[in-house]
Symmetry: C5
Subunit: 90 residues, 5 copies
């Protein structure tokens, strides 16, 4: 799992039907000091995260298991926000 | 998921049969400001994306689930275009 | 599997239910000389690791198979601590 | 999928039985201008690619689905050549 | 698959039970000229590789399929040595 900061969102009309109704957030992976680490990604939000919040990202099958909406066998998502970070203790 | 710009396509005659009839686009992953981030890849298009457009990429099993063509158990694709980005709000 | 040092933990109240009750540790991947290699991550602890200890990390489905708690079909974890390293022989 | 150039092969006698009889090619991932991008890898050839040719690589389960030989449940391959690139249009 | 050199091993007493009895080797991924490429990893040996030998690494589900020991549904391994390289022809 990666720590990340939510920095925005993307709007896409022409997309796979399993992405319809999903909040697609632009996220910047960071370390515990808030420094940027990996390249920006787009993550499907599953916990109500907003811009500026620090979050936990998962990838691959874990991201599809986080899909709390109508469970679709054909969910293409491969990155999801699964937690809002309250504190970093390091 | 990664944001990317479609910069071209590849033609391959001698290939796995699950790639026959698929549009194989060269994509350059970018950040929300359009700056290049990761190395170029080839993605199977599933939403009618054209050169110059900004798109959403998924990898792994998610890319195979996006295969809207004849669902083949033996689909080798591991990267797919699953959305055309209208706007970046960041 | 990656070698890593446990450097802290994160607290998250608003999160996927499969993360409830899990110890979410901040880990810094290292090489055999203790030098930092990849970016920091958050790993679910499954062996009682503490801050300052050297550990073994697994990713993807392997991380979900390490979930010794109540086996949930919907486990979103994609990184887990699966061993505490006693010695590096290199 | 990644574009790559085939630059050689490896010979391995002591290996997993699912690798027996497979052509193991050394590949250098490149971009559309032929510039090296990621680190070299070894890929199982499935389309008759030769040294010097430009090819398409897939990873993970997609690489195992490309195994046109005797389908073994226990195929350890995680990278395969699934196409020979005729032209790059970018 | 990656080429790598075996440079040592780790000892871990407190670990996931699927790692018990497995040889956990420290490996340095290399290119065909022996130059280091990616960060060091720990791989479960399945072919009797020793320190100083050049080997083939697989990741993810492929690494679990290489587990020649008692096939455990709960194998957490995500990186395995599946071949000893005799020669690099490049």
């Amino acid at each position: 799992m990666y720590m990340a900061k939510v920095i925005g969102s993307v709007v896409s009309t022409q997309k796979d039907k399993s992405l319809v109704g999903r909040k697609l957030m632009i996220v910047q992976p960071i370390d515990a000091e808030g420094k940027s680490t990996r390249s920006q990604e787009v993550a499907a939000d599953t916990v109500g995260a907003g811009v500026g919040e620090f979050v936990l990202l998962v990838h691959g099958a874990g991201a599809r298991k986080a899909n709390v909406g109508e469970r679709t066998q054909r969910d293409v998502v491969d990155c999801a926000i699964v937690g809002i970070i309250d504190t970093f203790d390091s």
